[in-house]
């Protein structure tokens, strides 16, 4: 049966009319169904998918952008809040320093005043004590002198001059002794 008859071999290359017709019918049907239904449907689905993915990517990009904006705003707010806090802190510090300085100066002034008052009072008392003493010494000297002299120095001016000279003497003696 392995016969390559010349007739059948070459007739292989001559298409039959019915074969041509069926081949054409088959091809036309395939072409039409593919062009009108299969490919448009697949293209539609694939485009839809691409669109959906693109939409999702766009959405993600927009969200990212929003987030970046929010962060920027937040950073800005945080920055200004920090600056404000710093300012408040500085103000408070300055104020505190001011208060302390004022209190200090006030205290100083008061202390000075107290010191001055005390000094004045002391001076006054000292002066009073001195005058009291000189009077007392004068009187004592006068009475002593009168007792010694037996005479009463009636004249107050002589009395005081006597007292003065007596004091001076006592003073110079005290000074030479010391």
């Amino acid at each position: 049966m392995f016969v390559l008859a010349a007739g059948s071999g070459s007739s292989l290359f001559f298409p039959k009319v019915y074969d041509l017709i069926w081949s054409s019918v088959v091809l036309i049907v395939l072409l039409i169904v593919f062009a009108k239904f299969v490919m448009p449907k697949f293209n539609k689905v694939m485009d839809e998918r691409a669109k959906k993915i693109k939409g999702q990517i766009d959405e993600a990009t927009a969200m990212k952008k929003d987030a970046a904006n929010l962060k920027e705003q937040y950073d800005e707010l945080l920055g200004s809040a920090k600056a404000e806090a710093e300012k408040i802190r500085q103000d408070a510090k300055a104020q505190a320093e001011q208060i302390v300085a004022r209190a200090e100066s006030q205290a100083k002034a008061e202390a000075e005043k107290i010191r001055q008052d005390a000094k004045a009072a002391l001076e006054a008392q000292k002066a009073k004590a001195l005058s009291d003493l000189s009077e007392e010494v004068g009187n004592l000297a006068a009475s002593m002198a009168s007792k010694i002299l037996g005479t009463e120095l009636k004249d107050p001016s002589s009395r005081s001059s006597m007292a003065d000279s007596a004091i001076e003497r006592i003073g110079s003696e005290g000074g030479s002794q010391s």
């Binding site: 008859a5 059948s8 074969d19 049907v29």
Partner: protein
């Protein structure tokens, strides 16, 4: 004599089996022989598969849809966009997909038990397919350039001294009218015939060695069976390759007919790299879509 032959030798396939009689509608132009019947059944199956896939196509694809989409994507990016660019190529996607899917599944019938012969193992089917290819590249040329300009570009290539035209015009005319479709037809047809004979030879020999040969020769049947197995695998590859070649050549012929992209094949490096970058980005985009999907 035939009985003697049958008894003595294997029932090898012959090309006469590829010229079957047409019992259905015998004698009319709608006669159907066994190969045409296989072709009609194959067509029905292709339509069923593709229509079911298309009808059930969803944005989030299943496995089957992904497989079909992978084929469409592959043809679109590696044939249509590669040769015709995205703008001009889009309108030919359907043509290329139809050609590839149909030819591949027609070819594949030769590996299906019961059919055992490719649905395009008569010259008529490859011829009609080739004629459709011819119509398309002529139409593409006429649509984009006009008939006169198309013929001028095809028959009178630039940069050739005029006396050569005396030789070139008939050769080129023959090329675009006869040689291109003829080569498409013969390449596909002969591959299918050869496949049929090769696989048939292996299995017929196996049958003969196992059943009719003496015990001393039965082991040869193992070799021929193995050969049949290998040849079947080989033919599956050939089926795909032939479908691919037919589609690629159709796209290439269309590319040669239309104006802008005709230089791409001729090797304008800037344009080629631009096209490749375009295809790459498209691929990346589609890959991304696959990953997301």
């Amino acid at each position: 004599m035939p009985e003697l032959l049958l008894a003595s030798g294997p029932d090898f396939p012959s090309v006469s089996e590829l010229l079957p009689s047409a019992p259905l509608f015998h004698g009319t132009v709608f006669a159907i022989n066994s190969i045409i019947l296989i072709r009609l059944v194959a067509t029905a199956l292709i339509l069923l598969i593709m229509c079911v896939a298309a009808a059930r196509a969803k944005v989030v694809p299943g496995r089957f849809q992904s497989a079909v989409e992978w084929v469409i994507d592959f043809l679109r990016s590696s044939i249509v966009y590669e040769f015709l660019g995205e703008e001009q190529g889009e309108r030919y996607t359907s043509l290329i997909v139809t050609l590839f899917v149909s030819i591949f599944l027609f070819n594949f019938c030769e590996n299906i038990p019961g059919a055992n012969v490719a649905a395009d193992t008569t010259i008529a089917m490859p011829l009609i397919l080739a004629i459709w290819s011819l119509i398309n590249y002529w139409a593409a040329g006429i649509r984009t350039k006009g008939l006169w300009k198309f013929l001028k570009d095809e028959l009178l290539p630039k940069g050739v001294p005029w006396p050569i035209y005396i030789l070139l015009v008939p050769i080129n005319l023959l090329e675009i009218i006869i040689i291109r479709p003829f080569s498409l037809t013969i390449r596909l047809f002969i591959n299918m015939v050869a496949g049929y004979l090769l696989v048939g030879l292996c299995f017929a020999a196996t049958q003969w060695f196992f059943v009719s040969a003496g015990w001393d020769l039965k082991w040869v049947g193992v070799i021929s069976l193995l050969g049949g197995f290998v040849m079947t695998c080989f033919e599956m590859m050939v089926d795909a390759i032939q479908a691919y070649i037919f589609s690629v050549l159709t796209a290439a012929y269309i590319m040669l007919s239309i104006p802008d992209n005709s230089e791409v094949g001729a090797g304008d490096p800037a344009k080629v790299s631009k096209l490749q970058a375009k295809i790459k980005s498209k691929k990346a985009q589609r890959n991304l879509s696959k990953v997301k999907g």
